[in-house]
């Protein structure tokens, strides 16, 4: 059924077809024109924004971290510029081959490679990742000469954190470390993500952690034009970074050194506070560690050594470990008795050498007792019987009611992270602490133990030092603090004002009686040997925290293994009339307080008041001391 047509018919049909085609062309071009109108006129603003977003990137300028100096300006934490060798993975084809090639020019240890891989996993592909830090000038020169062989590898000058005193005061200063996922989450929670763009480090411990906000500073931004590969092409605008604030501490680093040296190899803690301000003069926890190990990521071996050591060097005993206060609790108990009226200054009792309660005989250290004992003598000779009786008369609620406001069993609020609460025992505490009904009950006998600072009592050295500071400062209790001034980048000095937490109303006559007894402790009592010849008057009290309870048997030091020996306590303040320093010393497993803790206190006070220092650690040179606590 072929339809044959004449050429004319064909020609007419062809013209119609061309018309159709032309119409189609017009429709299609019209569609395009509409599309261009839509994109370039209607949605122009939107696409312009998109183009600008493409083009402009904000590059963070990381602020210089604030430094930390002690009260005399001695630098404890600082930054120094050093060269690093950095690789941008996205610009390097074969990473392993590149690193192998680099290792022929500058030494690259296996640990450098391990660290590189670890950082690489956490970073984005276009970040540059350090393969070697702290290059020597010679190493830099060697690399620069061969640089053409290593595209994507660059030498960068970067700021590093340095703790010039090494292990000294490491528990106070803390350290910074690379930001990990946990830190990122925390930063996000605080809404600080923008300020941490570009930051690689964050305070992980000590003041570096608690004053992170001040030390970090304000991240600056550089607005740059970038290409599709994310490379900056030119700078458009910038807002400079504001360096972090410097911290000036109340700490006297020389005193700190004296204190740390006095501990020698012994484990323990010391907290020395300026009573009038609550400023911390020294805060020791031994053993210490070198915070520099942490900055660039601690090696597995170093970490194992620190973490697995039975001496727990990373533990800040001064604020985290709570120990029974032993007899150092007695001056506070005496004040409790006087303040509540259960005892008067004229009161005296005959000490038979024991105290019977509920069919149990609580023993004094001295067989046969101390004879007639009043408040003064009870402290000087550290008479247990007196305090057994007092605790019983007061009752546990009154004891807890008096000790609580002094800060016992509560965080002092010191400006360091990770403070422990300790335990101020009371029936209420016991109910919360234990699940089983029979364990929740408070027994009268437990009150007797609490009276001499044993039993459930557990306080941190900073609590004890701060409570003592409050007592010798007319009852004014401060929040202890390590930072005295925050100096911001503009040179403005913001003093950290002493923050009084509360004033405990104490009768000055009662305080005077207790203080005079404490002075006599160091003249004729348990602390006399340690302070023999001191050219100043000093108040103090020894204490022994029981680690191991020998049922019935007599405690003989030499027979118990070192770890089960009692902890040695000493609290002191000086000068006695107008105290400039109040401190608490604890020596773990140090035996009697007078034996190992008191000599340390002597060294510290000697230095603080006289600037004199001994060359050797305060060894257990007081073994001939009376053991009549």
């Amino acid at each position: 059924m072929a339809e044959f047509r004449t050429p004319d018919q064909d020609s007419a049909r062809f013209r119609r077809r061309v018309a159709v085609a032309a119409l189609f062309v017009l429709v299609c071009f019209g569609l395009l024109a509409l599309r261009f109108y839509y994109l370039q006129v209607k949605r122009h603003d939107y696409y312009l924004t998109r183009a600008e977003d493409n083009r402009i990137a904000l590059l963070p300028t990381v602020p210089k971290r604030g430094t930390i100096v002690d009260r005399n300006g001695v630098v404890l934490a600082r930054n120094y510029a050093a060269y690093t060798l950095e690789i941008t993975p996205s610009r390097v084809g074969d990473l392993e081959a590149t690193i192998d090639g680099l290792s022929e020019i500058v030494p690259i240890e296996p640990r450098d490679r391990r660290r590189f891989r670890k950082i690489l996993e956490e970073s984005r592909n276009f970040d540059s990742v350090p393969i070697r830090t702290r290059l020597s000038d010679e190493e830099v020169a060697r690399f620069v000469a061969q640089r053409y062989r290593f595209p994507g590898v660059e030498v960068q000058a970067r700021l590093f954190r340095d703790y010039p005193l090494g292990a000294t005061a490491s528990h106070i200063i803390g350290y910074i470390g690379r930001i990990n996922q946990r830190d990122v989450d925390r930063i996000e929670e605080r809404g600080e993500t923008a300020n941490y763009r570009g930051s690689e480090y964050i305070g992980k411990a000590g003041l570096e952690q608690s004053y992170e906000a001040e030390l970090h500073g304000q991240t600056g931004f550089e607005q740059v034009e970038v290409n599709a590969g994310g490379r900056a092409v030119r700078a458009l605008a910038r807002s400079p970074a504001v360096p972090g604030s410097d911290l000036e501490l109340t700490l006297d680093i020389e005193l700190q050194k004296v204190a740390e040296a006095a501990f020698g190899k012994r484990r323990g803690a010391l907290v020395a506070i300026e009573p009038e301000t609550g400023g911390v003069l020294a805060l020791v926890s031994t053993p210490t560690f070198d915070p520099n190990l942490f900055v660039e990521g601690i090696s597995t071996q170093d970490w194992k050594e620190l973490n697995d050591s039975p001496d727990h060097p990373l533990l800040n005993r001064a604020i985290f470990s709570a120990y029974p206060p032993g007899s150092t609790f007695k001056p506070f108990m005496a004040l409790a008795g006087l303040t509540t009226g259960k005892r008067t200054l004229g009161y005296a009792m005959a000490d038979p050498g024991y105290f019977n309660f509920g069919g149990h005989r609580f023993m004094d250290d001295r067989v046969g007792g101390h004879g007639m004992v009043d408040i003064h003598k009870s402290i000087v000779v550290s008479c247990n019987t007196f305090y057994y009786q007092l605790a019983n008369d007061l009752g546990i609620d009154a004891i807890a009611g008096f000790m609580g406001p002094l800060g016992f069993g509560a965080r002092t609020g010191i400006d360091l992270p990770g403070e422990a609460e300790g335990v101020l025992p009371s029936p209420e505490w016991k109910r919360k602490r234990f699940r089983k009904a029979e364990l929740q009950r408070w027994y009268g006998g437990e009150t007797i133990s609490v009276g001499i600072g044993q039993g459930y009592n557990a306080y941190t050295p900073v609590q004890l030092a701060n409570a003592l500071a409050a007592v010798v400062n007319d009852g004014k209790l401060f929040r202890p603090h390590l930072v005295r001034n925050v100096l911001d980048a503009h040179g403005v000095k913001r003093p950290v004002a002493p923050e009084p937490l509360r004033t405990i109303s104490l009768n000055p006559a009662h305080v005077a009686a207790v203080r005079s007894a404490m002075v006599d402790v160091n003249k004729s009592g348990t602390g006399a040997r340690a302070f023999r010849g001191a050219p100043y008057e000093v108040g103090g009290k020894t204490g022994t925290a029981q680690v191991f309870s020998l049922k019935g048997g007599k405690y003989v030091e030499g027979r118990v293994s070192e770890r089960l020996r009692d902890h040695s306590w000493f609290i002191a303040y000086a000068p006695a009339d107008k105290p400039k320093i109040a401190l608490a010393v604890l020596v773990e497993n140090g035996g009697f307080g007078a034996q190992s803790a008191a000599p340390i206190a002597r060294r510290v006070i000697d230095y603080h008041l006289l600037k004199s220092r001994a060359d050797q650690p305060a060894d257990e040179d007081a073994d001939a001391v009376e053991s009549d606590e």
């Binding site: 072929a2 064909d10 061309v18 261009f36 122009h44 092409v233």
Partner: protein
């Protein structure tokens, strides 16, 4: 004057007469525009673009000087040669970028599918001219077969862009030859329904595990990317997103020559070839795009005019088809870059960098000029 110089003068006159002033003007406008844009998109390619242009213009001139009947006479050998070469490509061709498109013939590498863009309309126009006065269903079936074989050979390379262009070129001849609407409408309907359903069910069929069978994975990817560019913002979709941003951010007057940020900061892919239109749009804005559109329209109008007044059936069909091929290039490229058509490898005619395409296109212009000249010489 000597015989020799008379002869030379005659050659020059013939050559000059061969040039259609309107087409030449439009062509030079487009090529000049191309140089301006290339000066921004890729200045280092200006030299070779100029060289390509010169070669293409020479080719055009030579072709324009050949009478159209002689051109049509070359149709069958060219078509057969092209088809044989395409078979050769499919069997022995070199693989580049996952497709087998090039054939190494010892001296050089050639892309036979490019030859087909011209050989196809030439062949069909010649065929219909041979059957003039006797064109019926049988002729259309034969023409359809002549169309399908090379297109199929190109499609399996796989090269969607070229197969679309070759198929369109052949279809236009058949269309102008008067294929019944009864046959065109159903095919168009199937096409519209097919594309419509792809758009409607895009989400389902673009799942990675769905095998489309009739299309290669990369072609499926192109269609799916068009349906939802955000699905794959850093892959193929990145191209479309970035080119739409470039066009849209150009606004009415554009950002100015060499000031396109999308272009110069490398956000724009293939900025000197398939996506050069986005460069133009970004830097010269709506004004620049409309100027281009208008220039193309002028080219098409002139092409249609030449076809309408062409003396023979073969030249009419050839002229109409070549004009529509120019349209197809322009529409598919601009449609793809502005995000209303899928990404197929079709250059912007006379603008995109690339010698082969430019020579092919100028060859087309040469044919139009040849047709136009044959009419003039007939009238005189």
């Amino acid at each position: 004057m000597s015989d020799y110089s008379v002869h030379l003068l005659e050659v020059v006159r013939r050559l000059l007469r061969a040039l259609d002033p309107v087409l030449l003007l439009v062509l030079l406008t487009l090529m000049g525009y191309a140089l301006v844009i290339m000066g921004s998109a890729s200045p280092e390619r200006l030299d070779s673009q100029l060289l390509h242009g010169a070669i293409a213009l020479m080719t055009m001139w030579v072709v324009a000087a050949i009478p159209p009947q002689r051109l049509l006479g070359m149709a069958l050998p060219l078509y057969l040669l092209g088809t044989v070469l395409l078979v050769g490509v499919d069997l022995f061709g070199e693989v580049s970028k996952g497709a087998r498109r090039w054939l190494d013939i010892g001296v050089t590498r050639i892309q036979p599918s490019e030859l087909m863009k011209i050989a196809m309309p030439l062949m069909l126009a010649w065929f219909f001219q041979q059957r003039e006065g006797r064109i019926g269903l049988r002729e259309f079936i034969v023409a359809g077969l002549m169309l399908v074989v090379p297109v199929g050979l190109i499609l399996v390379q796989p090269d969607l862009g070229t197969s679309v262009l070759v198929a369109a070129a052949g279809f236009y001849v058949i269309f102008f030859a008067g294929l019944s609407w009864k046959l065109i409408v159903p095919v168009a309907l199937v096409g519209i329904v097919g594309i419509g359903s792809i758009v409607a069910f895009g989400d389902t069929i673009c799942q990675p595990d769905v095998d489309w069978k009739v299309m290669r994975e990369y072609q499926k990817h192109r269609v799916c990317t068009l349906l939802d560019p955000t699905q794959d913002p850093l892959g193929k979709g990145f191209h479309i997103i970035q080119s739409t941003i470039a066009i849209g951010s150009g606004g009415i007057t554009g950002k100015g020559w060499q000031n396109g940020t999308q272009t110069h900061l490398s956000f724009l892919p293939e900025r000197h070839t398939d996506f050069i239109f986005a460069v133009l749009s970004e830097e010269f804005g709506l004004v620049g795009t409309l100027v281009l559109l208008a220039t193309y329209l002028l080219l098409l109008v002139r092409g249609f005019h030449i076809a309408l007044v062409a003396p023979t059936l073969g030249t009419r069909l050839l002229g109409g088809a070549i004009t529509m091929i120019f349209f197809t290039y322009a529409f598919v490229n601009m449609g793809m870059v502005s995000g209303i058509l899928p990404v197929v490898g079709v250059p912007l005619p006379f603008i995109s960098y690339g010698g082969t395409a430019l020579v092919t296109l100028c060859l087309g212009v040469g044919i139009l000029m040849s047709i136009q000249r044959s009419r003039i010489s007939k009238q005189t």
